[in-house]
Symmetry: C2
Subunit: 239 residues, 2 copies
Amino acid sequence: MGTALQRTIHQLRSEDREFFQIAFSVDCVIFGFDKNELKVLLIKSDLEEFNNQWSLLGDLVKPNENLENASYRVLKERTGLDDVYLEQVYTFGEVNRHPAGRVISTAYYSLINIKDHQPKFCDNELHWHPVNEISTLAFDHKTILYTCLERLQSKIEEHPIVFNLLPEKFSLRELQNLYEAILGVKMDRRNFRKKFFLMNWLEDMNELEQDVPHRPGKLYRFNASRFSNGKVKSTPMPV
Amino acid sequence: MGTALQRTIHQLRSEDREFFQIAFSVDCVIFGFDKNELKVLLIKSDLEEFNNQWSLLGDLVKPNENLENASYRVLKERTGLDDVYLEQVYTFGEVNRHPAGRVISTAYYSLINIKDHQPKFCDNELHWHPVNEISTLAFDHKTILYTCLERLQSKIEEHPIVFNLLPEKFSLRELQNLYEAILGVKMDRRNFRKKFFLMNWLEDMNELEQDVPHRPGKLYRFNASRFSNGKVKSTPMPV
DNA sequence: GCAAAAGTGTTAGGGTTACACCCATGC
DNA sequence: GCATGGGTGTAACCCTAACACTTTTGC
């Protein structure tokens, strides 16, 4: 199956060990939202050490490629998407975190809209897993996943990034379901609506949901110009 | 001056370029507090490319050393201190950030108490610089410094870490001056006292300041047990 | 008409902010 | 006694959280 450098980092086998002094990789926690669940895109590991466990998508960083570009490349190769939201979270550098040798890895998370892009990779070894139902992952990927999830949770409290997980037009109910899925809490519907309208992040499309078995809700889209005009609340603690 | 691997990463010269495919380093933003100013510990760069500019303290990560240990080692070698507060912030991986070749670097910041430890390194090329008076630094170290400062600013809003910058016993005035120096804002004295006593992080030592030309203030120390018992306020946004 | 979710306002409580006077000490 | 900063309380405001009924649509 080619040389070590032709494999993705998580396919490297113990017999590749001689190639490494310190290798450097990126791992992408690719979040999606579907059926009211937060999901993460995983790939089957073919390392014997990890016996068919699932792992995050990652790859070695090339000598002439910066970290963010490496993450975009992984995303592009695996999902066909560019122009996605991407944020660096943390770098994992434990000596024995990879069985094939020393691999330091920087974790990024990205937010993509499953509905518009799922067909592009439904036929390979990738799979969307509900974040809540994941018990084990290969390597230290469970730690990486939860570190990224915590970052996402705190990020959405002040920044309008969840829109990257939704179709262009969405109802307030969908938006609230998404917040509830990410934060793992239930929220009050009236307060949620009030807060979002106060934030001034939404633009009313003057359209209604279609094909719902109940009163249809209004559709909105994220209005980036309103956000860049508006100020993000900052609380200059501690007093 | 020895081989490339014997030099610290920021002393590497262009003629060392051949050694690199990708090298990996840590950079430490070492914060201190003195004379009501937030300071950072810097070292003179001897790269000709950077013509005597100041730079952060850093070093290459060894193949059998994890990232945090590498940071502790830099701190120990340079300041004689271990057991300091240390937090990873961000990894900087631009292709051309180091003139000697490709160096990816993970930034950590640490908080140390200048007053108790300054004598240990007053005689070498290290110097404490007021953060507010820094105009340029070697490499991308100014970006690294400000990234770490922003992390510190948000961190102290919810976590009791500033005590690492103070002597064991301190007055509320000193504590407030420290918060003001880090956050770059003025705060109301009465509200500051009220909030801190509510937080329940402080233990009254029943001692007073000495040798001050005015009414002496009470001395306190941080009470870790109170903190671990107490809950940190969390605001489950966005609603 | 019935089920299901959309849409809508008010109130109480808690936290934050703004603000002024007396007190203790050194000189 | 005077200069300096320590120590203290209250009131207004804002934000958050809790809470129930009517409306619209599909079936």
